[in-house]
């Protein structure tokens, strides 16, 4: 059993996950100096989606979505389970590919991407094999080491702060919602966290919502600072603005380039996201097929995901184009449509069952 606090931290780090690396310049490109409002709006939407999941999970306590699907649709539920399995694996490979792209562009250009994938997968596999408690506690232990350097470096960077960069503000109020894939990408993927739901002690719903809220808040703070630090013109063009920010941080006159340390601490976020996704996939398998062993399957996942993260997309540009078009639909298919259908069937069944019992 993992505690409420740990679940909260998991939610926050999961949501921040790859978002800090991938979406920032997209947001700023869309909305210029006002981009910091986008995550707030998207976060509100994500919380609505979370409310739906909570309703679903509350409807049959102690069960994960996969089990609920089996309860609702019987054998057909297994298909839903498989869908979720594929969903989790795909997100995981997306996450990993983003990581390796980032590393290859920034601090380790020559290292083949698969190395990053495999190493992270093995470590995450080890953590997942130890069970949900380990996942929660690992995250809880890591978080301070992760949050402190990041915010500290942003605070240090404020030496180059300039309010001019945030003006003119509120020019185009609709610009901030002109980025639908943002809804899908960080926020609807948090659906993976619902696989942990049955393992949390109590007050899970609050933790999830609060986590989403604070994640959205911190993303918006980061975007705000990025704009104020390197200006919308550069931030919209640079691929990894967060990297540029930490690159231009100077610790006094001595430590001029601390970006590699900060970068490496930051990719721990990606690791946590990967770990949760792997756990979700592993749980799904466990609930679908009740296997007796753990390691072989995690190894299989390692093989699968390390391969799929190579073939998940051709190149970032192509991915950007397709993601803008399809992420939202694809995510909402899994995280909105299916839950809604499940919920409806459950309610109907309960109603019928209730009547038959009464008669």
């Amino acid at each position: 059993m993992i505690s409420r606090g740990q679940y909260y931290l998991l939610t926050v780090n999961f949501t921040l996950g790859t978002t800090l690396f991938v979406t920032i310049n997209g947001m700023i490109e869309e909305a210029g100096p006002d981009a910091w409002m986008m995550p707030l709006w998207a976060g509100a939407y994500g919380m609505l989606a979370a409310l739906l999941w909570i309703a679903l999970l509350r409807s049959s306590p102690g069960k994960s979505p996969v089990e609920i699907a089996r309860e609702a649709w019987g054998p057909a539920g297994a298909i839903v389970g498989v869908l979720f399995l594929i969903f989790f694996c795909l997100i995981a490979s997306w996450t990993l590919r983003n990581l390796s792209d980032f590393m290859n562009v920034t601090i380790m250009p020559k290292t083949p991407p698969s190395i990053f994938h495999i190493m992270f997968l093995l470590v995450a596999g080890y953590a997942v094999a130890q069970g949900s408690e380990t996942v929660g506690r690992l995250n809880a232990v890591v978080t301070p080491f992760l949050a402190f350097p990041f915010w500290a470096s942003l605070a240090l960077a404020t030496a180059f702060w300039d309010w001019e960069r945030l003006q003119p503000a509120f020019q185009d109020p609709w610009a901030i919602i002109r980025f639908p894939s943002l809804l899908g990408f960080p926020f609807m993927e948090t659906f993976a966290l619902t696989m942990l739901w049955p393992r949390v002690k109590s007050g899970t719903a609050g933790a999830l919502l609060l986590g989403l809220a604070s994640a959205a808040l911190s993303i918006s703070v980061v975007v705000f600072m990025v704009i104020g630090l390197i200006g919308p013109e550069r931030a919209a063009r640079i691929n990894y603005p967060i990297y540029t920010v930490v690159q231009e941080v100077e610790l006094g006159q001595v430590l001029v380039n601390i970006h590699s340390v900060l970068t490496v601490t930051l990719i721990t976020l990606i690791f946590i996201k990967l770990m949760v996704l792997l756990y979700a996939a592993f749980e799904t398998i466990g609930q679908l097929f009740r296997p007796a062993s753990r390691w072989p399957h995690l190894l299989a996942f390692t093989i699968l995901i390390s391969a799929s993260s190579l073939t998940i997309y051709e190149n970032p540009i192509q991915n950007g184009i397709l993601a803008a078009a399809h992420t939202f639909i694809y995510d909402s298919l899994h995280t909105l449509l299916i839950p809604v259908l499940l919920l409806i069937t459950l309610k109907v069944r309960r109603a019928l069952g209730g009547r038959s019992r009464r008669s």
């Binding site: 505690s3 606090g5 740990q6 590393m103 601090i107 380790m108 290292t111 190395i115 990053f116 190493m119 992270f120 470590v123 080890y126 953590a127 130890q130 069970g131 408690e133 380990t134 929660g136 506690r137 690992l138 809880a140 232990v141 890591v142 001595v254 430590l255 001029v256 380039n257 601390i258 970006h259 590699s260 340390v261 490496v264 601490t265 990719i267 721990t268 690791f271």
Partner: protein, 485 residues
């Protein structure tokens, strides 16, 4: 007449059988004492294992005064047992011979048809001395000895409570070593005591010569560099842990006592913390924590910074490092690896050397070797510094076995850093944390009180709060946790 002859022959026969059962040892004494009533009492013992004075002054003259005849031994008395002579010959012989080996004195009173086994054990051994492995500046200088009776005394002397419990077991099919479970009744959770009992009972071995034998059997996970049982040779430390509701295991023949459960941060607190002013203790505790990180990560970070992320190093330092490395044949990774290994070798040698030479050799060896290597241009000076620092920080940690595990970790991290730079170190660190949080010692999460978090206990982990500020009756989180379940 015949009757007496048969019995005499019986007593003699038994004595002879014991002698043959033990293979006619030279130290087996078999003497006949004549009581005032003129009866002959056979008295058999191993003179190497018994208290001579006890035999001569107490046993012999009480036999003379016919004491044994008057008051029969109370059943279940460990010091004097009594067997009817009518019992089966085989069992009698086994009992008697086992008793003799266990340092008891076998009295065969033919007339009264009784056999008495009187405990007169007194093995040679050293007296109470200062603990060698955990010396302190302030605090008691008594350490455990190899004699479990003395050790029990040392503990009882410190905790004069009726609730102090000892439970005796004999482990080892051949050695029959005496092992004691020790706990404070009411403080220690019953589940913990039962678990310890269960694990000890499950041990199947022929001999236990040191408490590490036991440790290997009862520790939670085998493949882990971290100790999940605390071992100490300080009675005061053991007493402190007992009073925290923990369970200790004493093994006869070794001064090292095992204490369970153990959590990660207890490895950083030494007995001395509690004999010093709180602020100083806190400071030293932080020093220990820092030096742990240095000892594990410093060389790997050095390798990562010098071979993968040179931009981390300030320009001037980078220039001078680069100048040092001019003409150094090996890559930095190999340099560090080599120096670390050499350092370990020197340390080990210093350990095994006779004490007189030992320290001199280790220090001089390290310095001279490092110096020479730098002069010869084999190693760059920075590497020597790094290795020296890590080597020193390694000895700061109070628990020796933990120091060893630090070394293992260090080497793995150097490897990772050499292959993947900071990313490798990150992966290693994540793996390490995953391992630590999944580790359990007797059902207690290893990272208590941090994961799971018990904020109330941080006052004795991150700092050593002054005693008046701490609630004397509150047990540590690990024990509270066990009591709840």
């Amino acid at each position: 007449m015949g009757r007496t002859s048969r019995e005499r022959s019986l007593g003699a026969m038994l004595a002879g059988e014991i002698r043959t059962a033990l293979g006619n040892p030279p130290d087996l004494v078999c003497r006949t004492v004549i009581t005032d009533e003129g009866r002959a009492v056979q008295c058999i013992y191993l003179e190497s294992l018994i208290d001579k004075r006890c035999i001569d002054e107490f046993i012999v003259d009480s036999i003379r005064r016919n004491a044994f005849a008057e008051e029969p031994a109370t059943p279940g008395d460990p010091f004097m047992r009594e067997l009817p002579l009518q019992a089966l010959r085989g069992t009698i012989r086994d009992e008697a011979s086992r008793a003799v080996v266990a340092g008891q004195c076998v009295l065969i009173d033919e007339a009264k048809e009784r056999i008495c086994l009187v405990d007169t054990f007194d093995a040679p051994g050293r007296q109470v001395e200062e603990p060698k492995t955990e010396p302190t500046i302030r605090g008691s200088f008594e350490g455990f000895t190899e004699n479990i009776r003395i050790n029990i005394g040392l503990v009882r002397k410190r905790i004069q409570s009726r609730r102090l419990r000892f439970e005796k077991m004999a482990i080892g099919s051949r050695s029959r070593t005496v092992v004691m479970i020790v706990w404070m009744d009411g403080l220690a959770p019953q589940t913990l005591v039962q678990e310890m009992r269960r694990r000890l009972a499950a041990i199947r071995t022929d001999s236990v010569l040191e408490s590490s034998y036991i440790e290997e059997y009862i520790q939670g996970r085998i493949l882990s560099p971290f100790p999940t049982l605390l071992n100490t040779e300080r009675p005061d430390k053991m007493a402190a842990h007992l009073l925290e509701g923990k369970v200790a295991v004493m093994v006869d023949g070794t001064p090292f006592v095992l204490i369970a459960p153990l959590t990660f941060f207890e490895l950083f607190s030494s007995a001395e913390d509690y004999y010093q002013r709180a602020d100083i203790a806190t400071f030293i505790r932080w020093i220990r924590l820092i030096s742990f990180f240095v000892a594990v990560f410093a060389p790997s970070l050095f390798v990562a910074a010098t071979t993968f992320h040179q931009e981390l190093i300030p320009t001037e330092l980078l220039i001078s490092l680069s100048a040092q490395r001019e003409g150094v044949p090996m890559p930095a990774f190999l340099e560090v690896m080599l120096m670390e290994i050499v350092f370990e070798i020197i340390r080990e040698a210093g350990l095994r050397m006779p004490r007189a030479v030992g320290q001199a050799l280790s220090i001089v060896g390290a310095i001279v070797l490092g110096q020479a290597a730098v002069e010869a241009g084999l190693i760059s000076a920075a590497v020597v510094i790094v290795v020296a620092v890590t080597g020193i920080t390694n000895f700061v940690v109070p628990v020796y076995s933990f120091g060893m595990s630090q070394r293992l970790l260090r080497f793995t991290f150097i490897l990772l850093a050499g292959f993947m730079g900071l990313f490798g170190v990150l992966c290693g660190a994540l793996l390490l944390i995953a391992h630590l949080v999944s580790l359990k010692s007797f059902g207690v999460p290893y990272m208590t009180p941090f994961a799971p978090a018990y904020k109330a206990d941080w006052q004795d982990v991150l700092v050593r709060a002054p005693r008046p500020w701490m609630d004397p009756n509150r047990l540590p989180a690990s024990i509270r946790r066990l009591k709840r379940h």
